[in-house]
């Protein structure tokens, strides 16, 4: 058994790797080939290939019947996607930036999220709302938010946030096949775009065959006994870097939530019961959001086991444009390392 594992690992190191954007595009392309009901609509998804490469190359293979550029009216095309989904198709609508959710919010939240319930299940809404999130590239307060907590707070939508190419592919297949609306939030910095280099980590080997990753299954990206770090998206990689830097001093476990709705509280609780110390790292705002929610679940489920908690988040302020200011407010590897050390004292 041990011998077989070693062989597998040796093969893994020499495998071809793909960027997160290519993994997502591969999953979308495969679903379109398999199912005539799947199509993509959004701003700049066709000729441009998505401004963050989320639909790169799809137009060439599938043409304009399947890959449709939309005018700048999120209300119009997200509403059209909701209608198409209710009529039995499986649209993937791209909201170019999650920050723009406000201009299509009635379609997202009053229609997409609720129509299954409002209709007494006479219709359902099997669509994917794919959207770019996150900062670190000086795009200021209206183009840099993650809004993880906002989307996860509103019931009726599943919320998915991949951190690696392998996870993105499996989660995208699951999202497209799901009979409920799924918000698929991809972090721009993880995509592997030429002008926005990704950190080490998101580019991974990806199995060529289709596979799914179940929603509500967090992934322990690094095992450890001393401190639990719960995070998602870009900050999975920053947390891993912080944990590796502290190796030998503090043994940190890094839990990648992967989906917020449904939320895998069991994996979080299991880890916290083991370590008794919890750090939540979130690129979203500090108050009324994900970090507070995870700590609440941990407190409700493992109060007696907890000895210290901490959260590392964006402050409750619009995200600055200036590079040094943005770097200051966006949780960095050192901020995470400091928090891990603080709770271990």
């Amino acid at each position: 058994m041990a011998e077989a594992d070693e062989t597998k690992e040796a093969e893994t190191t020499a495998e071809r790797e793909v960027t997160m954007s290519r993994a997502m595009v591969g999953a979308i392309a495969s679903e379109i080939r398999e199912n005539d009901d799947v199509f993509v609509m959004g701003e700049d998804v066709a000729d441009y290939g998505g401004i963050f490469d989320s639909t790169e190359g799809l137009l060439e293979e599938f043409g304009r019947e399947k890959i449709m550029d939309m005018p700048i009216s999120e209300t119009g095309f997200i509403g059209a996607a909701v209608g198409a989904a209710q009529a039995g198709m499986r649209p993937i609508a791209e909201l170019m930036f999650a920050d723009f959710f406000g201009v299509g919010m009635d379609q997202i939240y009053n229609q997409m999220a609720k129509n299954t319930y409002m209709s007494g299940s006479s219709v359902n809404v099997p669509m994917v709302l794919m959207t770019a999130v996150g900062g670190t590239y000086n795009d200021a307060a209206q183009h840099s938010q993650t809004l993880y907590g906002t989307f996860a707070h509103l019931p009726g939508m599943k919320v998915v946030i991949p951190s690696t190419a392998a996870d993105a592919k499996g989660l995208m297949h699951t999202a497209i096949r799901d009979d409920d609306p799924v918000v698929f939030m991809f972090h721009k910095r993880l995509m592997g775009i030429g002008w926005m280099p990704a950190p080490d980590g998101p580019k991974t080997p990806v199995p060529e065959d289709d596979y799914t990753i179940g929603f509500g299954e967090a992934d322990v990206k690094r095992e450890g006994d001393d401190v639990t770090v719960v995070t998602l998206g870009l900050h999975v990689h920053r947390a891993l870097e912080a944990a590796d830097g502290l190796a030998g001093e503090v043994d940190a476990e890094v839990v990648d939530l992967r989906t917020l709705v449904p939320l895998d509280t069991e994996t979080v609780l299991e880890s916290v019961r083991k370590t008794s110390r919890l750090v939540v790292v979130d690129e979203d705002y500090h108050s009324f959001g994900l970090s507070g929610e995870i700590i609440a679940w941990a407190t409700e489920g493992a109060l007696d086991d907890l000895s210290a908690v901490s959260r590392v988040t964006m402050p409750d302020a619009p995200i600055p444009y200036a590079r040094p200011l943005e770097q200051e407010v966006n949780p960095g590897t050192e901020d995470i390392a400091d928090a891990i050390q603080d709770v271990s004292e």
Partner: protein
Amino acid sequence: MSGGTVVVDSETVWPADSEDVEEAVVSNWFVREGTAVTEGDPIAEIQIEKVSIDVPAPTTGEITEILIDEQAEFQRGDVLAQVSSA
């Protein structure tokens, strides 16, 4: 003849509409040293003035050396990597 070394020559993928451009950047490597490749597989993505271009494996074999790091700039005609052909 098997067992030779084939270079990944950036000149071969240089697009006609970038004739007046001399530099590019390696955006992504999809392989590491030791990765087995099939002729035509994309092994890297380079960026020439914001245009991304895939670099295919010139032969079936194994990547023996990567000569330009990810995010590094190179000159048109530079060799990006070496492949030992199967």
